[in-house]
Every structure is written in structure tokens, then in C-alpha cells.
């Protein structure tokens, strides 16, 4: 059974607007959460992470929010740029094992 879920396979936003990508998880033992970006024919690239002791982490245009009670994670990209168009995976970790969502394909329209 999928422990990390991304229910939106795709998302389109206008350049300059906010992109919000969502992720849900089921395992309350997860203590570290990450977002990766992936371009075709390349491996995933680490974007941003958050520990379970925090509820927000910011890095430039990227902010990750964690709601532990809802078991929900989101990634905000502001402002969105055409170069942000890629597949985004969320991941969650318990000790050394990582579990990935199925990905959301983001298209930023110029």
C-alpha cells in the first residue's frame, strides 16, 4: 500500500503565479520529508526538506509546509518560472528508508 501519495498527476500555472504541490502520507513514524525535482532522462534532484520538528522551511522561492496532524506536506513555489516545469516527487523517511510519491508534473506557462 502506498505510504506517500500525490493525488494530482499534473498542474499548470501561469508564470509569476504561485504553484502549490501537495502530498499526503500515512505512516506517523516518518520524521524527515523532502521534495525532489526531476527532468526527463535525468535523476531526481533534491530541492528542499523539512524535519518533523518543524512546520515550515524556506529556501528562496521554495517553501515546504508540514502539517503533522493531517499527515500533509505541501510545496509552494513563488513566483513560478518556466524553468520550474518538471516532475516533482515528495518523499518521506523513517530512519534510512525513503518512500516516494508518484509525482506531479508541473507546467509553468510563459
Amino acid at each position: 500500500d502506498q505510504q506517500v501519495k500525490q493525488n494530482s498527476p499534473s498542474l499548470s500555472v501561469q508564470e509569476g503565479r504561485i504553484s502549490i504541490l501537495n502530498c499526503d502520507y500515512t505512516n506517523s513514524m516518518f520524521d524527515y520529508f523532502l521534495w525532489y525535482k526531476k527532468y526527463p532522462a535525468e535523476g531526481p534532484t533534491f530541492l528542499i526538506s523539512i524535519s518533523s520538528i518543524k512546520d515550515k522551511n524556506e529556501d528562496g522561492r521554495f517553501t515546504v509546509f508540514l502539517n503533522k496532524s493531517a499527515k500533509h506536506l505541501s510545496l509552494h513555489i513563488v513566483p513560478s518560472q518556466p524553468g520550474d516545469s518538471a516532475v516533482y516527487f515528495c518523499a518521506a523517511s523513517e530512519w534510512v528508508e525513503f518512500y516516494f510519491g508518484t509525482g506531479t508534473s508541473l507546467t509553468v506557462i510563459p
Binding site: Q2, Y36, G43, P44, F89, V96, F98, F100
Partner: protein, 112 residues
């Protein structure tokens, strides 16, 4: 910086053949992982290693074996390839727990 390097990038096999995928990292990372990515399934963990000489099963280990004889290398073996093992395989490494993983660019494997 090479980071994580996977060899080969592409391979076509016949059912029943065997092969080994090589992953090499130059970041002195302790932990290494093998994943497979299938359409609509995300990345699923096959096997992982927390140090030289140690390996452990992940979510989908059946049909695969691994070895970590040297810290920088993690090998994934298919003893008798099956069409269900057609996939893109990714290797990753990380410094330790609660650290982000660094990924290779993948090996696209087709089994006919």
C-alpha cells in the same frame, strides 16, 4: 564532481539472461540505495546498504540481489531477467539518516 554514476545507461536483455548494474559514488557517502521507477508508481526501493559489507531488503526486493564490497560501489544483479523487470533503475546515496539523497541519471532496462 561526478556525484553518483550509473553504468550502463541503457540495456536490452532477453528473458532469462543475467546482468549487473553498477553504481559508483565519489562523495564518501555511507548509505546507498537502488530504486526502480515504473509509470504511475513513483520510485520503489529495491535494496539498500548502510555501509560496506551490509545490505538490506527494501519494498520490492524479489528477483534482485545486491553487493557492497567497497564503500563507493553498490551493485544490483538480476540473475534471471523477467519482462516484469523492465523499468528505469536509479541509484542514490546519502551521508546518513535525515540527509537528502543524491541520485544518478538512471539505467533504462528493457527485457524482451
Amino acid at each position: 564532481n561526478a556525484g553518483v554514476t550509473q553504468t550502463p545507461k541503457f540495456r536490452v536483455l532477453k528473458t532469462g539472461q543475467s546482468m549487473t548494474l553498477l553504481c559508483a559514488q565519489d562523495m564518501n557517502h555511507e548509505y546507498m540505495y537502488w530504486y526502480r521507477q515504473d509509470p504511475g508508481m513513483g520510485l520503489r526501493l529495491i535494496h539498500y546498504s548502510v555501509g560496506e559489507g551490509t545490505t538490506a531488503k527494501g519494498e520490492v526486493p524479489d528477483g534482485y540481489n545486491v553487493s557492497r564490497l567497497k564503500k563507493q560501489n553498490f551493485l544490483l544483479g538480476l540473475e534471471s531477467a523477467a519482462p516484469s523487470q523492465t523499468s528505469v533503475y536509479f541509484c542514490a546515496s546519502t551521508k546518513g539518516s535525515n540527509q537528502p539523497q543524491h541520485f544518478g541519471d538512471g539505467t533504462r532496462l528493457s527485457i524482451l
